[in-house]
Symmetry: C2
Subunit: 219 residues, 2 copies
Amino acid sequence: MQFVIIGLGTFGSKIASTLYGEGQQVLVLDLNREKIESLQGLVTQAIHIDATDFEKLKEIGLESMDCAIINLGEPMETSVLTTMFLKELGIKEIIVKAISKEHGMLLKMLGATQILFPEVDMAIRLGKSLAYPNIVDQIPVCEGYSIVEMAAPESFWEKTLAQLDIRRVYAVEVIAIKHKEDGEEKLNMVPDADDVIDEGDNLLVVGDDNSLEKLNKLV
Amino acid sequence: MQFVIIGLGTFGSKIASTLYGEGQQVLVLDLNREKIESLQGLVTQAIHIDATDFEKLKEIGLESMDCAIINLGEPMETSVLTTMFLKELGIKEIIVKAISKEHGMLLKMLGATQILFPEVDMAIRLGKSLAYPNIVDQIPVCEGYSIVEMAAPESFWEKTLAQLDIRRVYAVEVIAIKHKEDGEEKLNMVPDADDVIDEGDNLLVVGDDNSLEKLNKLV
Ligand SMILES: Nc1ncnc2c1ncn2[C@@H]1O[C@H](COP(=O)(O)OP(=O)(O)OP(=O)(O)O)[C@@H](O)[C@H]1O
Ligand SMILES: Nc1ncnc2c1ncn2[C@@H]1O[C@H](COP(=O)(O)OP(=O)(O)OP(=O)(O)O)[C@@H](O)[C@H]1O
């Protein structure tokens, strides 16, 4: 697929190299000559350009682009104008890293199909995991359901899954037991009923959020 | 638990409100008076201060803090000095949002226990999901293992899990079937052997990364 990355902020630079590393066609545009120079040969094509210059954008010929990714920093108007121009050029997927909620609203009004808030997303995820230290990670699966990695509660240690009858008692399913041996993590995927949970093991469980919360209170 | 958030960038502000919303004690420090004013009453305590002033930091009395989170932007030296001071004050967990890999190295040398790169993390995740559009989401579980949400391959449609014998043939386990009905997502968690995969369903599968990649090639 063909991607155009506009603005080589931290995010833009990394997504350009990730996509190129996955075999995708990657064109990058930026106002900063040094950044463009440093990417020559590391992406499909790197062009020095002011992305708010609609005539110059048209000259490049972006009609074949499947997706545009914008990371132009401040001020807002730079990404706002660029988004509007890309929509005019008919690019279907326009992904923009936004500065704030209001900025995101503006961008959506002008045709952005996806707005990104990497700092906010990480703050929410890390904040929740710091508030619940026995939860190693929590991944939403769909409305009301998550997969949670949690330290096995003490009351589970040295018992088998069958003895604990977790599915019936707690309404969650243990999809894996993570065990540490000599500093190495071993994953017992889809464990058997007679597998034992050891002290220090982590459990990967899936279930509805209420059931997960009840289980978490045991830890 | 007691948290001190130093620097109210986008990340710092959001993690402060997330932690406070989860019932944690949250102290915020920043050089910007307006930001401190705007947080009065929205966190436990908000103090206007230059975090690179070691004497002023000592005056606040941060010994009881369980964790410090730093989001001080540029230049590097601000977060570098602050990290060093917090380590001196004996704070056990020091989490810092870094500007670059080199910045992260410096911070670790001076006592930071966790370095964050929210823009890089999202760029890698989004970059991979854009390169593999049939993978809705990929979550690493541990070294070499992931949980993947993917569109069910056409060859699976209208067949039961038993008929497909997925565990034996593909070495992955289907932990859930996501089905859309009248715009609503239904999750069939830990499906039975005779459950059918319908056209348009997504599958949540867990397995080693090689097996997941082979399965993904079918889609
Ligand atoms: N008019 C423009 N045309 C093209 N490129 C531009 C224009 N204005 C700014 N840029 C580029 O956009 C990039 C923005 O990077 P910047 O680091 O400011 O983004 P950011 O919002 O801090 O994102 P991140 O946190 O991911 O680094 C810079 O490389 C800059 O040269
Ligand atoms: N010496 C200092 N003491 C206290 N606060 C400081 C000091 N220097 C900077 N700050 C504060 O740190 C914050 C840094 O925010 P900034 O937006 O620059 O961070 P950032 O790196 O862009 O992160 P994000 O992407 O999460 O917004 C500002 O609120 C600023 O007032």
